[in-house]
Amino acid sequence: MTALFPFDLPAASAVYATLMIVTFAIHLLAAQFLLGGSAYLAWRGLVAPAGDSVLRKLFVDWLPFAMGVTITLGVAPLLFVQILDQQGFYTANLLLFHRWMAVLPVLIVAFYLLYVQKGSTRIREHALFGRALPAVVFSCVAFVGFSWSENHLLSLDRGVWSSFYASARWFYPAPELLPRALMMLAASLPGLAIVATLLLRGRPQEERHAAATTLRGLLILGAVVAIGCGLWTGSATYREVRAASTPWLWLAGLGALTATVFGALHLARNPKLALLSWTVSLLGIGGAREARRWGALPTDTVVEHHERAWTVGGFGVFVFFAIVATVALAFLGRRVRTELRATVK
């Protein structure tokens, strides 16, 4: 029996691909909160600019930190992609040139505006700024996510690199880009709903109750649309790597379905089950994504590169400090939680 991808790869490639899948899934959860939260605020800004609902307050409060966390968590997959497919990633970066580099000022603008939004009730309730500011933030966040998808697809499509360079274009409108972007946007809603429910846990009963129906609705709507878009893109694009990607696509679909069922039944009471299922779904997305990448790579060259990279050393130190950092964060988190509970009492 053939092992599941990436465990059927040579050891070094399997390690890097596994780390990529895991770290990407974690990053994706944070990114979903950021994208979904900014989409919710933009929508609220348009339809009901006045007044702070529980969710609006929650997202305005947490999104600036979520952006920092998303960027920080994105560094790990950014690192591993440079081992997995250095040439592809660098080439896509270079081909998209200024358009790609634009994600950086756009991130800074979004970060600044998130703090403006958080810091001033007057601006939030202003007739124009109250609508425009969340819309601009959402556009910035969506642009960054869209650019990453574009970059990723261009990195896979090695056959177009030379003609793309000759044309000096800055956009790569791959046919799957739009359904893929729609899937990512829809999939951000369940992630948002689950994380938001967890963040609301310390809040008064009436606040949690007020938000519960909306969150459950967002979760179900997002999951259904994401599964639909996933089927749309997946049926066409994963055909060539069916054997490697099928188990991961199943995992993604089943995880999403289970999260939807748990969410529909008792999201507010026990969000951890939905979180667990959703994390499985994100791992599925990550696995399918890497299986597809692997199908596009010049295997001999990259396997040799991975094996050479694996021999350089330092993995033991990384594991040691990963344990130290986890223990430190757990200790600090527990201590802060204990004191916060004491002040609430």
């Binding site: 960027i71 660098y90 790609w100 590169h305 330092g314």
Partner: protein, 473 residues
Amino acid sequence: MGDFAFYPIQDYGPLMKGLAIGGLGIFHVFLAQFAIGAGFVLCLLQWRAWKRGDELARRFLDGFFTVLVLVSFVLGAVTGVAMWFTSIQVSPRTIGMMIDEFHWVWATEWLFFGVEVAAGYAFYRYRNRLTDSTRMLLLVAYSVAGWMSLFWINGILSWQLTPGEWLLSGGVWDGFFNPSFWPSLLYRTFAAATIAALVAILVVHVLRNPDGGPATREDKTRLIRSLSILFLPTAAMPLLGLWYLATIPEDSRSWLLGGSPAMSMFLAGAVATSTALGVYAVVGLFARKLYVNVGTAALLVGLAFVATGAGEFVREGSRKPYTVREVLFSNSLTREDVDRMRREGSAHRDPYPIREEVPDSQLELGARVMRLQCSVCHTMDGANGMLHLVGPWQTDQMRMNIAKLQHTKPFMPPFAGNAEELEALVQYLSWHRAGRPAEWRAEDLADVLVRNQIWLDEAGTAPGRAHQKADGR
């Protein structure tokens, strides 16, 4: 040419690629060093608030300064990623080699950055609801994690100039704990403390009283005095600078000490501003406890930025003609690449076309050679422009000077191509110099190529300074 990866190199027009990475790098280093040094400032103030009941320190800590730290570490993170992306745009092979050799070190640095962000944000968000001991714990975690991220990245950056034993062993720790690791780490640590303390002194001037009015001069003076202890290590920076200079390669040192006028000027600028700043900080602020008004504080922060910028320029520039000493030349070619390209040619297998309209295939080859070998540091007619540099040279002189490039200018890498490619580059530059006419007739090639080959053989492929030493010149 087996596994040589060609990349689609972009044209920045009149802007030199180094300007992009240099400008961003200085901004990032200043922000990152501020965020690291701010950890020391925060710990110092929290200690005073906790152990000495200093409410002024607590007010300052909990107020604007904490927000500034938060903003700086998020902007530090964004500009850090920006450095990564810009490095890819400028020199993908260099950043690729750094990743290949040190990805676990980078991953370890990321862990500490994660702790820094979590501890910093927990303090920012919950500081008013926590006990003093927990506040201190969070700030110590923030500070240690911030400094550790410097520790890890410093090993990678200093390896680029002084790879030390790594050249023989290839071992990651031989490269990491390289000859300039410790002086560089200590220097950056003290610089971080100084920058953060200076920014804090500037921020003191926006401190408000509990009633909302501006803080009194006495309060400001007291805070400035509390912060001035962070300037004390500045006194050791000249010695650390000398230690650093002693560890770098002889030829790099010679660029800084007169060999390259531009780099010597930048070094002089960095030394002058750092000295002025250091003397004022140690003598004026620490020893004599002077008060600093807002204008002077802003000027001191500005000086620190200038000193950081000049220092980073010197550090980057002193690596010439390498980006990784002894391994990767400034144009991202290895010694092995140069040897092979001398035999097989460099650019004819480049799959990316030339976008510029050129009259013939020789000029097209010349454009490819320019793109592959020169464009990372040079533009055609803008910053560090080729036309300005070769302007006074006659065609034959240009052939010989480029063939023997590493001897013409020892901070340049050797030309990496065969006689035809050398000629193609010379013709391409001459065509541009002539105003890009619609038709271009090259000289009779046979004699020229023989002469080019002789010059290339005479030059060899070893870097210039090493060649001169071998010849006893």
